[in-house]
């Protein structure tokens, strides 16, 4: 394959060094986990139950997310209405929404004392029970339905408009359009969407921590956490870490095997021009699906805002301190993630060992942050007190977790910039730092801002590896909020949730907006 003209030599070395560093930071802790794994006793009944629950809830979450997303995406694809773009933008929000905030919102709407239970009780019916399998699945559907909608909508909008026009002139009925156009598209898109969501749900920790638990609703990641903190059984925690990696690798291989659509893609704001589905019943049905999806996403968030607004002023000072800690951590995470992603993206765009580098960049999806955290804990324990390293380790692991997404935003932009200006720069003798400063960086402002915002927001809401390391006085805002929920200080938790929500959205917006201002086209 032809390689693009590449005026930057130093960047190749920097990219290779970063790739080696990423590989080391993931592989060494993974090795430590494997060495420490106590395989002598094998997995006990509780561990097998955790494996079954992990796979089962991930399967159900993916099934419901994708199944419900089909009619919503179809409705969005063929209807044009005021607020359509805003709703599609909202579908991207759960990605940067802190899990713990969404869980509190879901509890407010669907919990024992939630709005839905209140309504059911008015009719003499029993309230709903959110803890356990259905709560975990509900939360995962809340997070992944929008992702599935965006993936499937992209498939719908990728059908050429000529094909819909052709269908119109051939007199296709809705059924014919379903058979000849929609089903072939869905056959291509659904397996990828299902597997991506399945993979995400197998590594979900915070949802299981807050809505699961107990012998019947423990994921492998939650079992690792429990083995760590409750039993301090490092051998078992490590063994479970190996099991978790095995689950993720198997799911990951399937994801790589099946072509996965790109959720970050743009161009979702134009509905497809089509002539079917104009009947009153079809319009009503589409309207019902769009409304239900919007309510499902908006009600919990609205509840967080409304309840939190009344409580935010009376929160204890420790919450504000935790918020400052989280802001600092997210800024460090964003810097590290972008600092790692930029040289790697430049090297990937060069086309050399592309597949290998992309695999390294995506490793943190397969090896969950909690497993990396477990490994780092095992490595650091003899050298330093793990709690002393809580924030640096959390920042590093969060940056690794964000790396695949930042790379996904950066690589196409680097390729485009180099394809457009690489040869001109080469002919002018622009290279090294000058090429970076005058050619590349001005063209990467948007994806850099977006990537940094994504990394910062993901770190701001993270409730993963910090739970393993943090001492009581070291909590980040999500951890403090979890502790408040655990001690039934609901008002303070509501206030913290609102603060966390605002901070997460704000930090993403500031970076993303900053990248757009004066960005080169």
């Amino acid at each position: 394959m032809a390689r693009s003209a590449q005026p930057v030599g130093i960047s190749a070395w920097a990219g290779a060094a970063v790739a080696a560093l990423v590989l080391t930071v993931i592989a060494v802790p993974l090795g430590a986990v494997m060495l420490r794994a106590d395989a002598s006793s094998g997995l006990g009944p509780a561990d097998w139950a955790a494996v079954r629950f992990t796979v089962g809830q991930a399967f159900l979450s993916a099934l419901f997310s994708v199944g419900l997303a089909i009619p919503v995406a179809r409705a969005l694809a063929r209807r044009n209405f005021r607020g359509r773009s805003a709703l599609i933008a909202l579908m991207g929000a759960p990605f940067i929404l802190p899990v713990i905030v969404a869980v509190l919102g879901l509890l407010t709407v669907f919990g024992r004392q939630g709005a839905l239970s209140e309504i059911l009780r008015l009719f003499g019916l029993p309230g709903v029970e959110i803890y356990g399998l259905h709560g975990v699945v509900l939360a995962h559907v809340f997070f992944n339905l929008p992702l599935a909608v965006r993936l499937i909508l992209q498939g719908w909008l990728a059908i050429p408009v000529e094909r819909f026009r052709l269908a119109a002139t051939l007199g296709f009925s809705s059924r014919d359009i379903g058979r000849h156009m929609e089903r072939p598209m869905l056959r291509n898109v659904l397996p990828g969407a299902f597997l991506v969501i399945f993979l995400i749900c197998t590594t979900s920790f915070a949802v299981a921590l807050t809505l699961g638990g107990g012998p019947r609703a423990t994921t492998v990641e939650l079992a690792i956490y429990q083995a760590f903190l409750f039993d301090f059984d490092l051998g078992r925690a490590a063994l479970l870490g190996v099991v978790q990696v095995a689950i993720c690798v198997i799911a990951g291989v399937f994801v790589l095997w099946v072509a996965t659509p790109n959720a970050i893609g743009t161009g979702l704001d134009q509905p497809v021009e089509r002539w079917d589905g104009q009947s009153r019943a079809a319009r009503l049905l589409d309207g019902a699906f769009i409304t239900a999806a919007a309510l499902f996403l908006l009600l919990p968030l609205t509840a967080v805002v409304l309840r939190g607004a009344g409580a935010i002023a009376t929160m204890p000072p420790s919450i504000w301190v935790a918020a400052l800690r989280s802001i600092a951590l997210s800024l460090v995470t964003a810097s590290v993630a972008v600092g790692m992603a930029l040289p790697m993206a430049m090297l990937i765009a060069r086309g050399r060992a592309r597949g290998f580098l992309e695999t390294i960049g995506a490793l943190s999806i397969a090896v969950s942050p909690l497993v990396i955290g477990t490994g780092l804990f095992l490595i650091l324990r003899p050298i330093a007190g793990p709690t002393d390293m809580a924030l640096p380790v959390t920042g590093l692991v969060n940056a690794l977790a964000a790396l695949p997404f930042v790379l996904r935003a950066l690589v196409p932009a680097v390729e485009q910039a180099e394809a457009g200006y690489g040869r001109v720069a080469l002919s002018l003798g622009l290279s090294g730092p000058n090429y970076l400063r005058h050619v590349l960086l001005p063209r990467l402002r948007r994806p850099l801002g977006f990537g940094a915002g994504l990394a910062a927001a993901l770190s701001m809401g993270d409730l993963g590896v910090i739970t393993l390391f943090a001492a009581p006085q070291q909590g980040t805002l999500p951890l403090e909020m979890y502790r408040l929920m655990g001690s039934y200080r609901t008002d303070d938790a509501q206030g913290a949730a609102l603060l966390l929500l605002v901070l997460s959205l704000a930090i993403f917006w500031i970076f993303d907006r900053g990248g757009r201002v004066n960005a080169a086209v």
Binding site: E162, R165, H180, M181, W275
Partner: protein, 229 residues
């Protein structure tokens, strides 16, 4: 056969205005630069866009408000004419039965149409296994089979190499002569237009700059047509 009467389509930054007629069996070439409104005009005739003013009359029937699926016409686009998961046979058969429930008689007609465009041996192939020219032939076979009196061509052969394009235009000419099909073809190549069409309409910035019989126009080409020659 086709009357585009005082037609007007208004967009934010573009207006298309045209008034012309195509007699039964005539072949009209709509020539124009990119952005001149050629495809927009075709979309208005096909019913993909609704006129802000004026009428579209086909075979004496006012179809201005008739939805696209009910208009008596076939259309070929530059791309996306075939469904990639279906065989050439099924793609052609869609012209007769969109549910693809075919009896013996229907199957025979599909095979006949494929034979007519020289693709009888390729019936079982999918579009991905056919060349660009063969794909165009499959789409032509379907158009032929549908038997609609009006055919709209939105540069369907533009992506083919010159030799193949000439071959397809010749085949299209034969089919029109055999069936008495009325044709409106969008093009940005005067030589293609000359090969197939009996009449010419030149669009510039959404306005008709020239129209007339091809032979008359080419006998003494006006200044406006010189850049196209």
């Amino acid at each position: 056969m086709l009357r585009f009467e005082q037609g007007l389509l208004r967009f934010d930054d573009f207006t298309l205005e045209a008034d012309f007629e195509v007699a039964k069996g005539d072949r009209l070439a709509v020539l124009g630069a990119s952005g001149s409104g050629k495809s927009t005009l075709l979309s208005a005739i096909a019913g993909f866009l609704t006129l802000d003013r004026g009428r579209v009359i086909v075979d004496g029937v006012d179809v201005t408000r008739t939805p696209a699926p009910k208009r008596p016409l076939s259309i070929l686009f530059q791309e996306g004419n075939l469904f990639p998961h279906l065989t050439a046979f099924d793609n052609v058969a869609l012209g007769l039965r969109t549910d693809l429930r075919l009896d013996e008689g229907t199957r025979a007609r599909v095979n006949q149409a494929l034979d007519r465009v020289g693709l009888a041996e390729m019936a079982a192939r999918r579009p991905g296994d056919l060349s660009g020219g063969q794909r165009s032939r499959v789409a032509l076979a379907r158009m032929l089979l549908r038997g609609k009196p009006l055919a709209l061509l939105d540069e369907p052969f533009a992506a083919l190499d010159p030799g193949l394009r000439a071959e397809m235009l010749a085949l299209m000419g034969e089919l029109c002569a055999d069936t008495g099909l009325t044709l409106v073809m969008v093009s940005h190549d005067l030589r293609d237009a000359e090969r197939l069409c009996s009449h010419l309409l030149l669009l510039e910035g959404g306005q008709v700059a020239l129209q007339g019989a091809m032979a008359d126009v080419l006998r003494d080409p006006p200044e406006i047509l010189r850049p196209w020659m």
